[in-house]
Amino acid sequence: MTDRANADTAVSPAAAEGTGSSVMIDLIELTKRFPGTQDPAVDRLTLQIPRGEIVVFVGPSGCGKTTSLKMINRIIEPTSGSIVIDGEDVTTIDPNRLRRRIGYVIQQIGLFPHVTIEENVATVPKLLGWDRDRIHARVDELLDVVGLDPEIYRQRYPKELSGGQRQRVGVARALAADPPVLLMDEPFGAIDPITRTRLQNEFLRLQAELQKTIAFVTHDIDEAIKMGDRIAILREHSHIAQFATPEEILTQPANEFVEDFVGTGATLKRLKLSRVREVDYTTDALTGRIDEPREVLRRRLHESEWTAILLLDADGRPQRWLRGPDFLHDRPVTQLGLPARAFVEGHATLSDALEEMLLGSAGVAIVVDNRGSYLGILDIDDIITSIQTMRDADAEFHRAAKLVDPLDEVAE
């Protein structure tokens, strides 16, 4: 994070010319004045979006964040200023040619209702003149990537899908021609909270692989903190109140506006920033194989300092929690104790883990890998320790910030 963060602070527009630069999208003095209005909706917005990062535009409604986003693919034509993408000034090129290189996801999704999911996803590849076999293979690949079985969904129509599934298709459609840049306008805004969290997590996992450059609009600071590598907090006329990493915005708000906008509960919000894998969770908890003799398991628990033993199946997937008294019942091991619940993966945030923990019966979360195999145990103490560490780091940060130029990047 540090090297990327340093890269953009001092880069002038001229230095960004040419491909291979760390800046992917360069907005220079971008201005939009709608006819019949006095004040510009967007006033000389200058912002650089580093290659492979998610930059979130967040701000109160009417601040111009959506207008700013829609000027990047010129759905809204800028009044003045310029847009440079990957070193090429695209302010005046054919907008349709520009848009075919930019994936576009909007809140209302806008799937074409009259054609199948396959044809929806194939839209841009068709416009680009790909051959049929290549399109077909690409559609299957993408549906797979967004977690929809191509066999089931390829020939369905949008109205036959749930809101969450439609948004997955929307993402697949935006990714179809493998554009280096994605624009996302409140993509998860119209989806129920549970599905939204799942889609956000899936999307982050996908982004870790794809490394797209993404401009992302939301009005929800929590979503911004979760999704953004960097956040631009915008106020009226798209003036930038602060453009920084989520950590920095939470620990060092640039002004009162940012402070108010971030609101209370900054500590809880920071739990969304820390990942389970970054925490020192317990990896030596007592485990056993579910097919081991119960006497062996009982003795092992009895002789240990643990109050429960976690049983795993042959693939290492957690199955059941057994406590001492459970062995008194005369039932097969597979029916003793409690079923193992509250699984989290390494990339889950501590906030997610905390939630799982509170919902699960055992008061702990089980950390698993992406195949569901056991890695370790995370308990509430681990989270409290981590919050303590953050607080200490903040104090450190503030001391350091007083010593050096506050505009410098000091994160982490």
């Binding site: 510009p40 006033d43 000389r44 006329h237 003036h239």
Partner: protein
Amino acid sequence: MTPPSRTPETLDEARSRADTEDAAARRRARRAALVHYLGMPVVLAGVLLALYLYVGGQELDSIEARTLTADNLIGQTRQHIVLTVYSTFFVLLLAIPMGIVATRPATRRFAPAIIGLGNAGQAIPSLGMLALLFYVFRTTPGLPSTGTVPVVVSLVGYSFLPILRNTMVGLDQVDRFVLEAGRGMGMSNGLVLRRLELPLAVPVILAGVRTALVLNVGTATLAFLFGGGGLGQTIFSGFQLRRTPVLLTGAVLVAVLALLVDYLAGLIEEKLSPKGL
């Protein structure tokens, strides 16, 4: 971030610019209103003038001269208007109350059937329907067989279904949430009807008046076939006698009358509709 720089403008400049813009907007609005209110009458007057000049410039033969007398034309126009007004009055008198009754909660289940009948009724040609209704009058002993009455009844019979249907569809579209809110506040069905539905239905009724007028002024053109007179007579004479001036005079007068009726009904609709809707 610095505030956007604007070209400095003195207060006076700003005020005078605003004044000019205002004045321009007002002028535009006035011109639009002028076109809106006077456009149609001016066009119709122009058409009548052109007709007058055209017919006046023709050497009319004796047949034409006999048909195109002022008495004749004025009489037919009067008949046409009388037929239109009577048939509109009676069809509204029948169709609107029936439409209201047929959309009550108790009778609502019949509504789709009636609307469906109204839709199917559109397939019946006006000529055939009028003729059949008139035939019933001519051949049923005890009913008047000539004059205005059978023609008006036929016109009413023809326009009844469409007007009923429009009324019902219109009432049905009165915002259900508004009605539900009314009931939710404890208003009785009768109160909901009087306080909410009828006021909201005023535009529907006004639209019905306009539709009925336009429909009837058109069908009244066929009244001459059944001894009801009207301007259709002049058109038909002109056709049968192969006299273009007569044909055109009848056709232009009918067209102007219909457009004028539509225009006036439109004005009334606009003036009487509740402002908030």
